[in-house]
Amino acid sequence: MSTTTKQRSILNRALLAGTAIAGLAMGTSQTLAADPIVIGLTSDSSGQYANSGASDRRGMLMAIDEFNAKGGVLGRKIETVHIDTETTPATGSRVAERMISRDKVGYLIGAVSSGVANAISQVAQKHGVIYLNTNSSSPTESGANCHRVKFVWDGNGANFAKAAVKNTIASYGKNVIQVTNDYGWGHDTSAATKALIETYGGEVSDDILVPQGTRDFTAVLLKIQQAKPDIVAAAVGGDDQKALRSQVAELGMGQDYAWINNQQDWPDVYGLPKENLFGVFGTTWYYGLDLPGVDEFVAQYQEAYPDTKMRVPGNVFYNGYWATRSLLEAIEAAGTTNNHDVIKKLEQLRIPAEVRMQHDDAYMNPNTHQMQQTVYLATANTGSDDPDDLFTIVSHSSPEAVADTDADASCKLESFEDTPVNQP
């Protein structure tokens, strides 16, 4: 990530002044180049999702650099501003306000936490600024909290659960215990999983709620041992999940039950011992997929970011990259930066599988603004010594097979009339 982007707004003025003076000095009547398009990057750089936020941002910047290398969008350079949203909704709200009113950004990109994504999207909707939720996987993002200006690029809890539940019940048995983080995302994910478990003939014998901020899961693990289930379906997120993983791994309980975990974001697990990655979990992409274009993409990543600790791109990077690239392509396709036109282009977005490096074509659901894409089921790759090769992809499901059917019912997008026109 270039450090200059952070100071862009200050630099802008200096540059502008500098150009003006230079122009005068040279006595040319050359018209100033078109104003740049400014994009606000709202990914976290502190708090629980700081690491994912950094990866997210690297993805966005690689897409932007690609476009700038070929002259920008509609002949305009793309500049970025980044301010930390601190994994805190209230901060997200203020950052969005600042970027829109002071830094005059035309688009906002980036989120890992659904709370922050929500807060930003409310502000964005008020101002009619297109916002890309790159990496928050809460089903409510494209359900109850959807917005006309917001597009969601990650798979959500419902998608991932669908991919995992059927498979596991068929192979391991019907008796399921759920472990649920006692907050919104946990409950949503858990409820979606429970419905699926019942659909596929499983039974939930207990749902253990754990408060957010739990560091010691021994009591929970003792209860699981006492109950002896076939399957444990965990909806535990963030730091809590990391603690749960290391404690399960230490007890060797990862092999005793079939664990269904929620999505594993690459930056969260990278560098951890592989025994911590027990159970199955969903993801949208893996660098080890045997598909055309993947190797080139990895090489491009390594060239762009030679110094990052993560030597290969992960799903968070992938989502950040594709969200940004799709937005810029939509602007070009629309031939204008007008938000209504760009939104319409994005609503019709369809990307062939070979371009997206996934198994199926991906497309935007115009009713929920969530990207419909292949979802992969992964587990730890204990058979390899390669520290980068963490996952084994168990299976992949088509967008239709894992579609979040509840979202269409709960999402009510604002009309275009209620969305202010904005042409950055």
Binding site: Q7, S9, I10, S46, I83, D84, A90, S93, G184, Q212
Partner: protein, 338 residues
């Protein structure tokens, strides 16, 4: 030391300066590289901090869980709008009421506690409220917060003013800040103001002199809770949502930091200075470096070490020093002992 005498003008000179800056802000914000929305949050936090300093600076009671009442106000406003269809002013009154009830209940447990035990009880209660805000998701929306609040019109019967724009809402907040400032200024110069300062200087002596100390502590805690509730309600309108983070220990710690870095122990205006310093540091440093908290933390440590009475204290010392210099007085050496 923060001491007020009974007599004070209704409007002081500093107050006029403050009001002038407050009311002219939108005119020069852009030129100064600032923006209206930032002003809204600063002014809301000024209201919050002024009320908080009644407790911390004037009564000497450190609350490290005041975010709870701020948050309760925010949720109170949101719920009033969502379920009671309350307008702007009734909503704010309900937010204040929510802050009052919550802090009043907690104050029942606190008003007989002193020093560190008082501080720790405030933390414990603050955590309970924060926890409940996340836990009672049916009511509060859990960690996603209470969403889809809108900025209403102020209904004056004959005409209405829309608060949709940041400009209009800024002035609504600024006017409330003017009212709160006038009110608190009167209050600290009233007999009640004398009483709370007596409690700060020596609780035992205040009791001997005949003050009902627990009742004073209860009242001042509840009052500052009410103002926190009002500020929380305003932030809810500003952000069009209420979030549990504003109730976290971290957020509660920050308001203490703001008040003290500005000099809440020595000046009525300390909290105002502190909030402005914090927000500007955050906005300016935050856009330059991601490690802005490192620098702010170092600044804060330096203030605690070298001018623990904050910027206002440092300013006061500077003014006194200049004055003495002018009078040609010889500075007295030697250590001071309290």
């Amino acid at each position: 030391m923060l001491t007020t005498k009974g007599k004070a003008p209704i409007v002081s000179r500093q107050m006029l300066v403050f009001f002038a800056i407050l009311l002219s802000y939108p005119l020069w914000a852009d030129a100064a590289g600032l923006y209206e929305y930032l002003g809204i949050e600063i002014v809301i936090f000024i209201i919050y901090a002024l009320g908080f300093n009644l407790l911390l600076g004037y009564t000497g009671l450190p609350s490290f869980g005041h975010g709870a009442y701020f948050g309760v106000g925010a949720y109170g406003y949101g719920l009033a709008q969502l379920y009671l269809d309350a307008g702007f002013i009734p909503g704010l009154l309900l937010a204040m009421l929510a802050g009052t009830v919550a802090s009043g209940l907690v104050a029942l447990f606190l008003s007989h506690r002193r020093g560190i035990y008082f501080a720790l009880m405030t933390i414990a209660f603050g955590q309970v409220f924060w926890f409940l805000a996340i836990k009672l998701r049916g009511l509060t929306g859990g960690e996603d917060g209470l969403l889809n609040i809108f900025r209403p019109d102020i209904d004056f019967g004959l005409f209405q003013i829309s608060l949709k724009s940041n400009f209009a809402f800024y002035y609504a907040v600024a006017l409330i800040a003017v009212l709160v400032t006038l009110l608190l200024w009167r209050l600290v110069h009233s007999p009640f103001g004398m009483a709370i300062q007596a409690v700060r200087m020596n609780e035992t002596r205040a009791r001997f002199v005949g003050y009902q100390v627990w009742w004073i502590k209860w009242t001042v805690f509840t009052l500052s809770g009410a103002i926190a509730g009002l500020a929380g309600g305003l932030l809810n309108v500003a952000q069009e949502s209420a979030f549990p983070d504003t109730m976290s220990l971290h957020a509660s710690g920050l308001i203490v930091m703001m008040v003290l870095i500005g000099g809440g122990f020595v000046s009525f205006w300390g909290p105002v200075v502190g909030v402005i310093v914090y927000y500007l540091a955050r906005d300016l440093l935050g856009s330059i470096t991601e490690a802005w908290l490192l620098w702010y933390g170092l600044l804060f440590m330096a203030v605690m070490m070298f001018s623990p009475e904050g910027f206002a204290g440092g300013w006061g010392k500077l003014v006194a020093w200049v004055r003495r210099r002018k009078q040609g007085e010889v500075l007295m050496g030697g250590a001071q002992n309290d």
